[in-house]
C-alpha cells in the first residue's frame, strides 16, 4: 500500500467512524422522543349545549379551556393557558378580563393582550356539535376570536 492510498483509506475510515458516531447520537436522541404520548387528547367532548349557562364563561379544569355561551352568537372556546409561560389564567367577572397570576399578564375578553409580558393573545379553539349532541372541542384547530357555534 502506498502513501497515497493509505491516506485515502485512512480518511475514508475516519469519515466512516465520525458518521457512525453521529448516526448513533442521532438515534439516541430520537429514542428520547416518545412516539406515544399518554396525555389528554387534543380533541374531546365537553358536554351537551344545555349544560352551559349564559353569562360568565365555564372553566373546564382538566382541559384548561373557558367555554363561552352567548345568547346571540352561541358557543366559543378560549384557551386558559397563558401565552407567556403557561400558567392558567383566571377570568374575572368584575372587569371581564383574563388575569395571569404568574407574571401579571392581562387579556381582554376576546383574548387580546391588554398588559404584557404575554406576547400573543389567548387562542380560540374550534367547537363543533358531535353526532351524539355533545359539544366537541379541537385544540389543534385555532380559530379567530369571532368564531362561534350556534346551536
Amino acid at each position: 500500500m502506498n502513501r497515497r492510498s493509505f491516506l485515502g483509506w485512512g480518511a475514508a475510515g475516519f469519515a466512516a467512524l465520525c458518521s457512525s458516531v453521529a448516526v448513533s447520537f442521532g438515534a439516541v436522541l430520537r429514542y428520547l422522543v416518545p412516539d406515544v404520548f399518554y396525555e389528554p387528547p387534543q380533541t374531546f367532548k365537553v358536554g351537551k349545549p344545555a349544560d352551559f349557562a349564559y353569562g360568565p364563561p365555564t372553566f373546564l379544569a382538566d382541559e384548561k379551556i373557558y367555554v363561552f355561551r352567548d345568547r346571540e352568537k352561541g358557543f366559543s372556546v378560549a384557551s386558559a393557558v397563558c401565552t407567556h409561560l403557561g400558567c392558567t389564567v383566571n377570568h374575572f367577572q368584575s372587569d371581564d378580563r383574563f388575569h395571569c397570576p404568574c407574571h401579571g399578564s392581562i387579556f381582554a375578553a376576546n383574548g387580546a393582550v391588554v398588559h404584557g409580558p404575554a406576547p400573543k393573545p389567548l387562542p380560540w379553539f374550534e367547537v363543533t356539535l358531535a353526532r351524539d349532541g355533545q359539544l366537541s372541542v379541537d385544540k389543534d384547530k385555532v380559530v379567530p376570536s369571532t368564531y362561534h357555534l350556534m346551536v
Partner: protein, 428 residues
C-alpha cells in the same frame, strides 16, 4: 495477636504516623487522600484565603447524595404516588422529616456555597494563568448544581413543583430554533405530566449527580496540576516580584536548590515524577513554609466537614422542608414563585420571556465561562484590577437585587408590592 496484626498490616501499609515517612505514605498510599500533596503550604490552610467554601460545597454534595439515596427508598416518581410518598416522609416515616430537611436545606446551602466559592475565586484572581480552565469547569459545576435543584423540585409533585417546572420549561421553549423540541425532549411530552416526572427523576438521581461527581474529580485534579491553590493576596503584597524565583525554571540556581531539597525527601515524589507541576512564583525559603497534610490539613478539613454536618442537622431539626398542596394543573397559585435562587430569573422573565429568560441568562453564562480569557491582566493584586472587580461586583449585585425584588417585592399577579404593605389574601 499476630492474626489481627496481619490483617491490619494488609490494610494499612504505611509506616507509623510518628515518622515523616509515615505521614507522607498516609497520603501517597491512600486512594482517597492522595488528591492532597503530602505537604501543604501553611498559607493555603488559612481560613481567610479560601473560607473553605469549596470544601463545604463538596461536603454538601456528599450529604445530598447520602440523604438523596435515603429518600429514594421511599420515593416513587409517579404523579399519583410522588406526593403521597412525600406526605409519608413527612408524617409516618421514622426520621422522614429530618432526612427530607437535610436534603432540602443542603440543596439550598449548596447553591449559596457554590456561588460564594466562585466569588472568592474571582476576587482573589485565582482564575488567572494557569488556572483558566479550572474556572470553566467550576462554572459548569455551578450550572449543574442549579440543574440539580431545578430537577429536584419537580419531584415532590406539589403546587410549587408543578408550576415552577411548567414556567421553567416554557422559558426554554423561547430559545430560538430548538426551543420547542428541547422542551418536548425534557418533558417527554407537551405538558408537565408523568413522562416529565420520570425524566426529571432520572436526571436528578443519576445523570446530573454523576456529572457533578465526574467534574468534581477533574476540578480537584486540576487544582493539583495547576500547582496547588493560588497564593493568598497578602503574600503577593509583601514581596516585590524581582526577589522571587519560579520553581521549576531550571536556569535559576535558587530554583534548583529548592527542587533538589524536595527530591531528597520522600514526599517530593509527585514533584519528581511529574517534573515541574508548580508554576507558582515562590521565594527560595518558601519550602520551609510547608507542613504535612497529616494532621494539619486533614484536621481543618474535618472541622469543616463536622461543622457542615452539624450545622445542617441543627437546621433540619429546627425547620422542616415545606410541602405545598398537591399539584393542580387547573389552578395556578397566586403569586406563583420559584425558589429564591430562581426568582431573579423569574423577575427578568416577567419583563420579557425571550430577552429575560433566554438572551440575558445565556449571555451571563457565556460571560462567566469566558472570564479568564477576557481578563488578560496578569496581575492578581486588587488595586491593579479595578475594572474586573467593578464589573464582577456589578454582576453579583445585579443578581442579588433581582432575587430580592422577586422574593420580597412581588405580590399577587406579580404586582410590585413592598414587603411592608400587607395584602389581604384572596382580594383580587
Amino acid at each position: 495477636m499476630n492474626f489481627f496484626r496481619d490483617i491490619w498490616n494488609s490494610i494499612v501499609r504505611r509506616d507509623s504516623l510518628s515518622t515523616d515517612k509515615g505521614k507522607s505514605e498516609l497520603v501517597f498510599l491512600n486512594v482517597w487522600l492522595h488528591i492532597h500533596p503530602a505537604k501543604v503550604k501553611k498559607e493555603h490552610l488559612r481560613f481567610r484565603h479560601t473560607f473553605y467554601l469549596g470544601f463545604i460545597t463538596f461536603f454538601l454534595f456528599i450529604i445530598l447524595v447520602t440523604t438523596g439515596i435515603a429518600l429514594m427508598c421511599y420515593y416513587r416518581p409517579y404523579p399519583s404516588q410522588a406526593y403521597q410518598d412525600m406526605k409519608d416522609l413527612q408524617f409516618v416515616v421514622f426520621l422522614g422529616p429530618f432526612i427530607r430537611g437535610m436534603h432540602r436545606w443542603a440543596a439550598h446551602l449548596m447553591v449559596i456555597c457554590v456561588f460564594l466559592h466562585m466569588c472568592r475565586v474571582f476576587f482573589t484572581g485565582s482564575y488567572k494563568k494557569p488556572r483558566q480552565f479550572n474556572w470553566v469547569i467550576g462554572v459548569l459545576l455551578l450550572l449543574l448544581t442549579l440543574g440539580l435543584s431545578f430537577t429536584g423540585y419537580l419531584l415532590p409533585w406539589d403546587q410549587l413543583a408543578y408550576w415552577a417546572i411548567t414556567v421553567g420549561t416554557n422559558i426554554g421553549s423561547y430559545a430560538p430554533l430548538v426551543g420547542g423540541q428541547l422542551r418536548e425532549l425534557l418533558l417527554g411530552g407537551h405538558t408537565v405530566g408523568q413522562a416529565a416526572l420520570i425524566r426529571f427523576y432520572v436526571l436528578h438521581v443519576a445523570v446530573l449527580p454523576g456529572l457533578v461527581g465526574l467534574l468534581t474529580i477533574v476540578h480537584f485534579w486540576r487544582v493539583r496540576k495547576d500547582g496547588g491553590l493560588s497564593r493568598p493576596l497578602w503574600k503577593l503584597e509583601r514581596k516585590p516580584v524581582e526577589e522571587l524565583v519560579t520553581i521549576g525554571a531550571p536556569a535559576e540556581p535558587a530554583a534548583l536548590r529548592v527542587s533538589s531539597a524536595a527530591q531528597s525527601k520522600t514526599y517530593g515524589l509527585m514533584e519528581v515524577v511529574t517534573g515541574k507541576p508548580i508554576f507558582e512564583t515562590v521565594s527560595p525559603d518558601e519550602e520551609e513554609d510547608t507542613v504535612f497534610a497529616y494532621p494539619y490539613a486533614f484536621l481543618r478539613e474535618s472541622i469543616a466537614l463536622m461543622g457542615t454536618v452539624v450545622g445542617l442537622m441543627v437546621i433540619s431539626i429546627l425547620y422542616h422542608a415545606p410541602l405545598e398542596e398537591l399539584a393542580n394543573p387547573a389552578k395556578t397559585p397566586n403569586p406563583a414563585k420559584a425558589p429564591w435562587y430562581f426568582l431573579g430569573l423569574q423577575e427578568l422573565v416577567s419583563h420579557s420571556a425571550l430577552v429575560g429568560g433566554v438572551v440575558a441568562p445565556a449571555l451571563m453564562v457565556l460571560a462567566l465561562l469566558a472570564v479568564p480569557y477576557i481578563d488578560r491582566n496578569p496581575s492578581r493584586r486588587l488595586r491593579e484590577r479595578k475594572w474586573a472587580l467593578w464589573l464582577f461586583s456589578a454582576f453579583v449585585v445585579a443578581n442579588l437585587v433581582l432575587i430580592i425584588i422577586g422574593t420580597f417585592f412581588r405580590g399577587p399577579g406579580w404586582a410590585f408590592i413592598p414587603p411592608w404593605v400587607h395584602v389581604v389574601a384572596g382580594a383580587e
